[in-house]
Every structure is written in C-alpha cells, then in structure tokens.
Point group: C2
C-alpha cells in the first residue's frame, strides 16, 4: 500500500470531467470552452514551427531558455497590447504556460493560507479551484447584468479585507458579461485606495462581435495584473499566455515560475514569435469574429424556442458563452443526464459559484459548432428541457 | 505604488543568475547543466513537428487536451521504461511540463507548511528551492561517495519524521554519484516500513558511460515516485517530463496539474510521440554517450593539473557533472569572479547544501564543450585557482 493520509484534499473540475463524457461524436456539445479547430491557422503555424526548427536558430529553440520568456515574443505581445491602448514593453511581461499558469503563479506569490480573494459571482471555475487549492477563502461580490458592482466591492473590502480581486471583465466566463468603463475606473480606484491587487483575466477581449472596445482596468493602474493568452486568438495547444505586472512583483513571479517549470516551451514560444511577426493576426481575428458572431446569433435566435417561459439569458457582445437562467426551481445538474440522452451537452451553472449556487443556471458555448449544428443542438436541448421534470 | 508587504519571500536560483553572467561567448562555461545543442536531432524533431502539424491530426494537436497527457506518448514512454526493467503502462504516467513541474506537483500534493523532506547532501538546488517555497523543512541525510547512507536515513526518519525523501540516485546533480543497488533496496524498504514517499528523480539515467545499469528504486515499490525527462535524451526546449506514481496519488496529481497549467503543450507532446515512434532513440543516445564520455574523460584527465594538491573529485559513471572539493579553507564563491576574469565559469557548491555548505566545493559540467575546449577551459581554471588567494 502506498503512503496514505498525507495527500491534500483536492477536487477535479466538473467541466473537464464532463468533457470526457461528451466526446461521443453524436453529441452536439455546448459544454467545453474550446476555440473552433477548423479556424486554426494550421498552415501558418506549421510554417512558423518549420522556421523555428531550421538552422541557425533551431538549436537555440530546443535548448533551455530564460524563465521570463522569449524576448521577441514579449516585444511582439507588448506592441500588440500597446496598440490596443495598454502601454506595455517586453520587460513588463512574463510568458506563462497558458494563462492558467499565470493564475497559479499569482496565487503562489500573493496568497498564503487564510488569504481572502474577492470574485464576481458566478466566475471562472478554474480560478476558484486555484484559489481554494492554495487555502484562500473566496468571497463573492454582488454582480448584476453589467458584472461586479463597485459599491458591493467596497463593502466586501471593508468587511473581509481581501488581498486580491479576481475579474474576467470582458466577455466573462461563464456569463459573457462585460464590465462598463465607469465600473472599471471605480474598481481600479478601490484597489489603489485599499492597497490590494486586481487580477484582470482577459483571454477573450479580442473576440468582440459588436460595439467598441473598452479600456482594460490595467490602463493607468499599477494595482492591476493583466493576463492575456494565445489560446483564443491563435491556438490553445501551444499553452502560451502572458502576464503584465509591475516590476517588483514580476521579479517574484519569475522566481515562482522557475520552481514551477523553469520556463515555457522554448520551441512553442519561438514559433509563436515567428508567427506573430509574419502573419496578419488582425485579419485572422477578423475571420474568427465573423464566424463566431454568426454562431452567437444562431444560439441567441434559438433560445426563445429552446427554453421554458420565464427563462432569461445574457446576450454577449463577444467571447464564447451565453449564460442561461431557467425559471426558479429548475435544476440543471439534475437535467444533464436527460440532455446527454438527447445527444446535447451544456455545463450546469452551480460550479461557477463561489458561495450559494443558483441551480437553475447553465453555460452554453457557441464557438465550436456551425450555426446549423447550433440550431439542431438547441432543438435537442428544447426536447430535453421540455421532457425533464427537474427544469419545471 | 503597487501593493506591498504581501509578497512571499522567495529567492532566485544562483545557478540561473550565474548563467546570465556567463553568456559572453569568450567564456568557457562549465556552469550550466545544459545538454550539447550540436547533438540535438534537429532534423528528426523538425520532421516530427511537421507531421504533428499536418492534416488530419494537426488541428487536434493545436487544441486543448487531457491533463494526463498524450496517450501515444504515455504508451511509448511506458514501453521504454518497461524495456529498462521498470514495468510501466501508459496509465501509470502523467506527462509534465518538464520534470521540474513534476517536483512542484508532488510538493503541492504532498507537502503542507511544516512538512519535513529528507535529502542527500549536497543535492539538486532547484528541488531545495521548490520544497522551501512550499514551506517545508529540509533535513540532510549523511551521504558518502556512494550517495545517501541508509543507516543515516533511518536515524533521520526516527528523529525528524519526514513525509518525503528526495533522491537523484543515478549520476546525481551536483555530485555525479550513483547509489548502489543494495542501498536502493534498503531505502525503498525504509520507505515502506515508515509509510513515506521517495521521489526518485532520474533525468540522467540513460547517459551511462561505463558499467551496467542499476535497477531504479521504483522497481517493486509502490512508495517510490519515479520522475523522467525528455530534456537530456531529446531536447529540453520542449519541456517534457513524466511522473510514474500509484493510481491513487496520480489522480490527485492530475488535479493539481490541471490548476497549474491545464496540460502540457499539445503540439510538443504530439511531436515527441511521433519522434519516439519514428526515430531510433537508442542509436541517438549511443551517440550522446560516445560524445559525452570523451568530454568527461578530458575533464577528469585535466583535473590533477588544474587543482591544488589535496583536492578531491568524483569520477562519474555517467550524467553531466564532476564535483570538486578543494583543500580545506578554500572558498569557491569568493574565487568565482577571478575565474570569470579568466573567462571560465563553474558553479560554487554552497547552494546545493540543505544545511551547512562546504565552501570548498564546486560543480563542473562537461557536456557542452568539446574535449579541446574542456582542456583549454581547465587550463584557465588552473590559472584562476592558482592566482586566487581564496582557494589557498
């Protein structure tokens, strides 16, 4: 028998466990938060890897490398952020093994056992897992259709003394909501006034389907850590993210990352740098927006005939998700087996809550299915919801 | 001003900081533990990446993937381990972002604040950093020219109640020492008797230049976690390692890894699986052995004329390192600037100690320089040591 009793208590992600169940090809899955693989720039990335593995630089790109990350990649990402209104240099950035790693590094650097983290409700469940695994206490801030309410955050700050506020302010996971400019300013001001950090997790910001971009919270604030990712605009398989932080904290995060994995894949970073320099990423993202916009539209159009009267949903300006609230008394966890029996999948909303879950909620992702498949999947979901007593 | 005061105390790796100083091309560096880039199979790996990014599987290889790792890669690694005498299936393995990540995952899963870790003395310094960053207390076990002394481990177990023993039993970093078979059996028996884990970190085991392989501690023991790596036999830039563990712990480690980075690079894993299936890795490793053997021989041959009378050194059967102990009173940290002024670099031994450092020790790596460069570098080191008062 191997040693027992000393293993810490950890729980798996229900989304990932569910994904394992929805891999049957006949299932139309609205469950996973995946980008559409048919839209990956496979040819462009193949050429970038080929160049990264050619002489003379190919051998350097297979070797150990600095923890901070590939210098060219950091400069290119910084230039892109600067172009979007967030002035950044390569020295302000740490390349991470996906933005999930950035979350874990920030958690390791800033949160000891007993630390308090304030989050919007509901929020990204892998962030909740990450904070809880570190022994932090997660407290919820009241949120409405525009995201976190600054007045509620101020009350939570005074009552709970959090050391960190976690936000997905643009096209949030799971709700698709976007925090308006005036709330961003107010939350950054609260962070400065009360000397705490804000983590601005921004994997979806470039996937906007209507309206104008809103400045990140990090603009003009040295209390905001800004997290970005190649996963939704390029491809997630490279596991490339980046973290923008003030110099003092960046030094600490580099040391924490050194212990975590020494550095992110040298070859993936080099290929991404070559790709960013050579490809027209804006044109590629414009193509993603066009495709995803029509998928979102198909899902929104189907929702009235899919759900029972009294159901509400978000109508996101971008990103990947629609958040649905069925009439009171519904239980989306209980209804999931019925949906799977109808060959359609979603994620029940409960795990996204830090405190008391609303069992009537569910998350739908519209990115990986064509409009026609979405229409078909929503028809299946209508049947499943209509025939399941737990949603009545 | 960004928030202050809440950042945890962390310290950087002296080896990595030093590497930054030794990148001047005129320096002959024996400091870094790097594999020789001219021996990378650049062509084979380029072909593997090309195939991994071709239709039809290319799009899957850019997508999110299961945390456990690429199934084909796990099977190929398992078959290789089985062939070397450690019966393993793909289900026994977790793919990690380098074996450094495996160390951090094990630390997160098993060690809380106040936990005790027993190590050989001196030992791999990034392991020491990792355990300390988690708040564990590191205790040293007496070690001689054959590595950890089992009788001393038993005393330490009774006195200190460690929950984990960390070892690099084959061609250790930094000493090059190898733990004999009878000590391996004794240490595995102690782990079973006292219900604790042994981490067997084995990045160098295939780089043997003389003698016969010794069975891993993990053979026949469910108390041993075996860590392997692609870094020294393939290339470190892919950040690919693997961890073999009993099922119960593996489940926990998968959840901890999910929070750490979701999964290791999909494309790097796929390319490595294609490479392992297509290439003759044994022939490639035979080539590494031939080259590294002659480099080790050049370093060992130069040592008598490089060092003052009374100096001792290890004569490793494999791996990358020779460990040198100068006469009592020498201070290799103090002598390093003199060495750098002579355009030669090494790593002072002090940071590799968990407890009281021996300031007269230093680590030399022989892998990245040709025999001729090693002879030249050792002549420079002789001048530096001869001309520096701190080594007298």
């Amino acid at each position: 028998m191997p040693p027992t009793g000393s293993t810490k208590h950890v729980t798996s992600s229900p989304v990932r466990d569910l994904l394992a169940l929805t891999s049957r090809p006949e299932v139309i899955s609205f469950a996973g938060g995946l980008p559409a693989p048919e839209l990956f720039d496979l040819t462009g990335l193949r050429m970038a890897f080929h160049q990264a593995l050619s002489e003379p630089a190919g051998r350097d790109n297979l070797q150990y490398a600095p923890t901070e990350g590939n210098r060219a990649l950091r400069s290119l990402v910084a230039a892109r952020m600067t172009g979007k209104g967030l002035p950044t240099t390569g020295d302000d950035l740490l390349i991470t093994t996906g933005s999930q790693q950035a979350l874990t590094l920030v958690t390791s650097a800033l949160l000891g056992p007993g630390a308090v983290v304030a989050v919007e409700e509901p929020t990204y469940l892998a962030a909740l897992q990450c904070f809880r695994m570190a022994g932090a206490r997660v407290v919820a801030v009241a949120s409405d259709e525009h995201g976190m309410v600054p007045e509620s955050l101020e009350e939570v700050i005074k009552a709970e003394r959090p050391s960190l506020v976690y936000l997905v302010p643009t096209f949030a996971n799971p709700t698709g909501r976007t925090l308006p400019a005036e709330r961003r300013t107010a939350i950054a001001a609260l962070a400065a006034a009360h000397d705490l950090w804000v983590v601005e997790d921004d994997p979806y910001g470039e996937l906007r389907y209507r309206g104008e971009p809103i400045a990140p919270l990090a603009v003009g604030s040295d209390h905001v850590l800004h997290l970005g990712s190649f996963s939704k605009i390029g491809a997630p398989g490279l596991r490339l993210g980046w973290l923008r932080a003030p110099e003092s904290l960046l030094r600490t995060l580099v040391i924490v990352k050194q212990a975590a994995d020494l550095h992110t894949s040298t070859i993936d970073q080099a290929a991404a740098a070559i790709y960013l320099a050579a490809a027209d990423l804006d044109a590629h993202i414009a193509g993603l927006r066009t495709a995803y916009r029509s998928r979102r539209d198909a899902m929104i159009a189907a929702l009235p005939s899919t759900t029972p009267p009294g159901t509400t949903w978000t109508d996101p300006d971008g990103g990947m998700f629609v958040w649905v609230t069925l009439p009171e008394g519904a239980n989306t966890t209980g209804a999931l087996p019925t949906a799977l029996a109808h060959d359609v999948a979603y994620v029940p909303g409960a795990p996204f809550y830090a405190t008391t879950p609303d069992q009537a909620t569910l998350r739908l992702s519209f990115t990986t299915n064509t409009p026609a498949r979405i229409t078909e999947g929503m028809a299946r979901l209508a049947e499943a919801l209509g025939g399941d007593r737990s949603v009545r």
